[in-house]
């Protein structure tokens, strides 16, 4: 275990996704800088106990450190720089679950076989293949033809599979969210990002001209009043999803029941826009300083994002706002968002529903989204999120997160739409599946799966 922690945040891997989560361990920062060879806060007490000492209390620490274990007896002697080229990476023969690794054929499949002497319940299925497919469409065709047993189905394909005799659909409430981030960065914020690194900036070359009305929270609230979330849920959520009013929407204790739900009210929307200084011409077109208001909706390409754009065009059109749709490839998406190519930026996913602390990755002043794209920075919010993570008493945490979600609900850095359910298509011959909300952990109870 100690070895796994040390590898996860070794200086050789600055891109490791564990860096942020694990740097809370005492002595981790010094180790990351290469000043020490050991991490002070990690102690091995006996063969079955490890103790981690943190710099400061953090209730979300365990939640954020779901770290896979790496075998020291195999990788211990390998230089961290050469780790990614080690054969073990393609053939992880040491497993802690009920199955043994047999073979990995890159981009084809991973083959697993039942362990002969598993310590817990003996699994019912002897062999498992994980198919590595290049596109969802291929996978769905294979499910339809009975060539695979289980796969996640996109919401807009659920209806098609419901009609198929050999497929069961399992639905599970998700933990991710579906939102549209506003880009309301000010000229000063953009100038700061554009400053060269030597001068304390980030060295970007963003050319965006800010839209002043977006910086007024009343305008953002007006858009929330202009939207009706139901068509979104029907068309892209497979008909089932939980509307949300801030990014803190789970677990139940963290959900503030007193948030503004922004039920659709076009008159109120127009009134708020007028307060900001928006005028309307005879045809009802919203004008800013005499020119029509046009917002650009930015997303990565796909059928579902396109539909979102069309619903937006229709609904915001009713308050006189024109929406243009801009879809880019996924590698170009983040640069386009940072470059200010969108005013409304689609984002879907995350693990918000599992713990309220996740919101700090998105909405605190230093977070990538808030700083590089949205331009949201609220010191009180940052304080509350830090407080919420620093105590483990649920009542105390609740207080912080309720107030924090009220800030998001009022300021609306994003239009919070819903938390989507996830769907799995399962061949009727296969039973025992209990999908978890995090689709990455579908196999958590794999030893209970069976063929009917």
């Amino acid at each position: 275990m100690a070895f796994s922690y040390k590898i996860a945040i070794h200086p050789a891997f600055p891109r490791s996704s564990w860096v942020a989560a694990l740097s809370g361990i005492k002595g981790a920062s010094e180790y990351q800088k290469g000043e020490t060879d050991d991490i002070e806060g990690i102690k091995i007490l006996d063969d079955h106990t490890i103790q981690l000492e943190l710099k400061e209390p953090n209730a979300a620490f365990l939640f954020n450190t779901y770290l896979p274990i790496m075998p020291e007896h195999i990788l211990g002697g390998v230089k961290p720089e050469e780790l990614e080229q080690h054969p073990y990476v393609d053939a992880p023969t040491v497993t802690s679950g009920p199955y043994d690794f047999v073979a990995y054929e890159p981009e084809q499949y991973i083959h697993l076989k039942k362990k002969a002497d598993y310590w817990d319940t003996e699994p019912l299925i002897d062999e498992i293949f994980f198919k590595l497919l290049a596109s969802t469409a291929t996978g769905l065709a294979q499910l339809e033809a009975g060539e695979l047993d289980v796969i996640e189905i996109p919401a807009d394909e659920v209806e098609r599979f419901e009609g198929m005799e050999h497929v069961d659909i399992l639905t599970v409430e998700g933990i991710g969210y579906y939102v549209l981030h506003f880009d309301f960065r000010t000229e000063e914020q953009i100038a700061q990002l554009n400053k060269p690194k030597e001068e304390g900036g980030s060295g970007y070359s963003i050319v965006k001209e800010p839209k002043p009305y977006l910086q007024d929270k009343r305008f953002r609230q007006a858009l929330a009043y202009a939207l009706d979330v139901k068509p979104f849920i029907d068309i892209i959520g497979g008909g089932v999803a939980k509307p949300i009013y801030s990014s803190i929407f789970g677990p139940d204790w963290a959900v503030n029941p007193n948030l503004n739900k922004y039920d659709r009210d076009l008159e109120k929307a127009k009134a708020l826009m007028a307060e900001v200084g928006v005028t309307f011409d005879d045809k009802g077109t919203a004008l800013w300083e005499g020119k029509p208001i046009i917002l650009v909706y930015l997303s990565n390409t796909g059928e579902e994002p396109r539909k979102v754009g069309e619903i937006l065009q229709q609904q915001l059109g009713e308050v006189g706002i024109r929406v243009d749709i801009k879809l880019v490839t996924s590698a170009a998406f983040l640069p386009a968002a940072i470059n200010g190519e969108g005013d409304l930026v689609r984002n879907a996913g995350g693990r918000f529903g599992a713990d309220p602390s996740v919101s700090s990755l998105y909405y605190t002043c230093k977070a990538g989204w808030a700083r590089l794209v949205i331009g949201f920075c609220n010191e009180r919010f940052d304080e509350l999120l830090a407080q919420g993570a620093a105590v483990s008493d649920v009542k105390e945490r609740q207080k912080s997160y309720w107030e924090a979600s009220a800030i998001l609900n009022e300021e609306l850095p994003s239009l919070f739409l819903f938390s989507h359910s996830r769907f799995f298509g399962v061949n009727k011959g296969l039973g025992g599946l209990k999908p978890s909300a995090d689709p990455g952990y579908l196999t958590w109870n794999i030893e209970e799966w069976y063929f009917k």
């Binding site: 981009e107 170009a332 996740v358």
Partner: protein, 319 residues
């Protein structure tokens, strides 16, 4: 002849360098880079500092010309470099996939040659008959229908409705590998690639055959009282073949191009799927390696066509 081949090989080098320079500029001009594609924006966990650090680690903070020169230096030493995303050697990643694509392309080429030439000759012999009109109609249809559409149609019909063939992949998982299983998986992708490429061949074969049938030596053969089948096979066909060889050689790059889409649809693990993966992930080193290899393959296909031309037609001499 060997002098000619050597000269052609020498010319290939600047051509290849030119190709790589252009591609290097284009892929770097495309928005996004390996770092932006490695970050999952839905996880929120990114910051300006981490992105800059990752760029520096991959050497992306250096000026473009310098990066090209460094890449070229390694290529000259026979090193294709490491993938920016998977950290695996590019040569290994491509080598793993190369044969799958070559097999698919060659089978598709065979399909297109057999279909294209036989139908073309048939419609030339039976000029203005219903066979001729039907073949004209079919070849125009095959040219007009996009490969991906034909693929989806075939999957729907042969795999989902009739259940004769698997929808995709290269073999059935959980069963011992067999040649028959491999062939079953190859039928649809090879058909799509082969048929699309056969259509123009039909037209070339038809006109080339018509031309050689109107030559005087064919009339002479007929006048000598030879049987019509013999006249066609012995006298008309070999001469009609000569211009076709160039056409077939020039079809290879097209097949390679078509393989990119077809492999993706049929989950055929060749260079095409790898190329799409590399493009969407902005894996610069892998993309450069892929383009270099396909550039070499295409150039050598052209060279082979030229050599074959000289072999078939004794009148052609390269000096």
């Amino acid at each position: 002849m060997s002098k000619y081949i050597l000269r052609r090989l020498a010319i290939s080098i600047p051509v290849l360098i030119g190709i790589t320079v252009l591609i290097f500029i284009f892929i770097n001009a495309a928005p996004g880079d390996p770092v932006s594609s490695m970050i999952d924006p839905t996880l929120g966990d990114f910051s300006a500092e981490r992105m800059a650090q990752a760029r520096a680690q991959l050497g992306l903070d250096r000026p473009l010309p310098l990066r090209y020169v460094l890449w070229l230096k390694e290529i000259v030493r026979g090193n294709l470099g490491y993938s920016m995303i998977t950290q695996k050697p590019v040569a290994y990643m491509i080598g793993h996939r190369l044969w799958a694509t070559i097999r698919l392309t060659l089978v598709a080429l065979a399909v297109s040659v057999v279909i294209g030439i036989s139908i073309g000759i048939l419609s030339a012999i039976k000029q203005y008959s219903w066979i001729d009109y039907l073949s004209t109609f079919l070849s125009f249809a095959a040219v007009s229908v996009p490969g991906f559409f034909l693929s989806l149609g075939l999957i729907y019909l042969l795999a989902l409705k009739l259940r004769w063939l698997p929808t995709s992949g290269m073999f059935t998982l959980g069963q011992p590998h067999s040649l028959w299983d491999y062939i079953r998986h190859m039928i649809m992708p090879a058909m799509v690639l082969g048929v699309g490429s056969a259509a123009p061949l039909v037209r070339y074969a038809r006109s080339s055959m018509l031309e050689s049938m109107s030559q005087e030596y064919v009339n002479t053969a007929r006048a000598k009282g030879q049987r019509e089948v013999w006249v066609i096979l012995k006298h008309a066909f070999p001469n009609a073949l000569i211009p076709l060889i160039t056409v077939i050689g020039l079809r290879l790059p097209g097949l390679f191009e078509g393989a990119v889409i077809v492999e993706q649809i049929f989950q055929w693990q060749g260079m095409g799927t790898l190329a799409i993966w590399a493009v969407t992930n902005r894996d610069y080193t892998l993309l450069m390696g892929l383009n270099l290899i396909s550039g070499i393959l295409v150039l050598s296909a052209n060279l082979l066509a030229d050599i074959a031309y000289a072999v078939v037609d004794p009148r052609v001499r390269y000096d």
